[in-house]
Amino acid sequence: MASLNWFRYSSPAKFYPVAGKMIPWFGGSAAVLAAIGVWIGLGIAPTDFQQGEAYRIIFIHVPTAWMSMFIYLVMAAWSALALGFNTRLSAMMAQALAPTGALMTFIALWTGSLWGRPTWGTYWAWDARMTSELILLFLYLGVIALRNAIDDARRADRACAVLSLVGAINVPIIYFSVKWWNTLHQGSSVSLSAAPKMAATMLTGMLIMAFAAWFYAIAIALFRVRAIILERERGAAWVHELAEVKSS
């Protein structure tokens, strides 16, 4: 079996057209899945007997919350590759993922507080998950701010990689510290940990929406990484050969 040389695609020039071909597939699947997920979530899934219609926000809340944590891990993995192999493209992928991760975190927080108002009677509780999600948002914003503060792209790559890795080690510590702090302070006025039994259609809808969020994140990250490649490689000859560059 012929072995595929993965390092071939670590060159921005080789990856740029591949990413361009992948975007419609991931973007299209995300759109189709989101349409199905919304249809199941808003149309088919039954009303929850405890929470009424308010629970339907989980179809957007849970997928974005999952993605917010997952994207941070992926970003840290790209950062580790960037530091370990000194590959430029890995750092560009990490850079492309950060805004999407921050967006997912923000949406998860926003929808969570919208759900909390009718269900818990408050927009914000210092619940362990909400608090660690908030700190995750700060971590994302820190990485983005550090990137923006450094003019030299290569230095920014490596500095952000170090920060992402330190953050990734800290994320589980932050989560557990907040969790223990919360149990000490609050008692169990708000019980999120006991997962409610979910109807099968609700679970299906949620999983489909999770895949939609995942594919959306991939598509938008690829889109962004193409823009980053064009910006960083603007001096390279192959960029000027591109049809889209010539025509503009």
Binding site: L141, L165, I174
Partner: protein
């Protein structure tokens, strides 16, 4: 610099001399500008004194929030003093010479971090019983508060060194440093301030102090390497 060993790569024998040299140098520099250290300590005292004025002089409430206030002030004092770790050395080129020296860079940075803690974290921890008294913290609570600060403030210096190195020579370095480092300080804050809370709740502070100790060990092993990597990135 005293006779440095010839090989730069992972010479175990050069680690301790490296730590010692950097510690002695930074301590000497810090003690020559004592006024600056005094100002930082005063900042801590003033921040702590502002909280009762802003909230309430009621003793029960003060005792509840006292440890948290002291910890937040310790975090801010640490943050304020972090630029001192590398900024001056970076500005006059000393940091480049330090990075070129035959001693392992993480060892030299460990020495600098230790010096930073001795001149900022340690005084903050030693002042804590006095300030705790103002907040009506009881005797055992004072002891635990001081112990927690003694264990926790070195972590602040260790993590802070990474952020200080990452933001070397950047625009808006100070506020950027706060954004990078304060979220990483959260576990230290929670376990540290939680130690006194557990004592008040009758649980004992062992769990919190053990976690702080564990965090200190992990940070002491890992942070100098991360900070060294960040310094090399900044010097490129």
């Amino acid at each position: 610099m005293p006779s440095a060993p010839a090989s730069a790569t992972l010479d175990a024998g050069a680690v301790l001399p490296g730590v010692r040299w950097a510690l002695a140098r930074d301590m000497k520099l810090a003690l020559r500008s004592r006024a600056e250290l005094g100002v930082q300590l005063l900042f801590y005292v003033i921040v702590v004194s502002l909280f009762p004025l802003a909230t309430t002089p009621e003793r029960n409430l003060l005792a509840t929030m006292g440890p948290g206030v002291l910890w937040v002030a310790a975090l801010l004092a640490s943050l304020l003093s972090l630029p001192r770790l590398f900024a001056a050395d970076h500005a006059d080129g000393t940091l480049e010479q330090i990075a070129l020296s035959p001693y392992p860079l993480p060892a030299l940075i460990s020495g600098k971090i230790l010096a930073h803690w001795l001149t900022t974290g340690l005084p903050v921890a030693l002042l804590a019983p006095l300030l705790g008294l103002q907040y009506a913290v009881e005797s055992e609570g004072l002891l635990v508060l001081t112990a927690a600060l003694l264990l926790g403030t070195p972590i602040l210096s260790l993590l802070g060194a990474i952020g200080a190195a990452l933001t070397l020579g950047l625009r808006a370095g100070g506020s950027l440093l706060a954004l990078l480092i304060l979220p990483l300080y959260v576990p230290v804050l929670i376990f540290g301030a939680g130690a006194v809370d557990s004592v008040r709740a009758g649980l004992g502070a062992t769990a919190n102090l053990s976690l702080l100790g564990a965090g200190l060990l992990v940070a002491a092993v890992g942070a100098p390497f991360a900070a060294a990597a960040a310094v090399r990135i900044a010097l490129d």
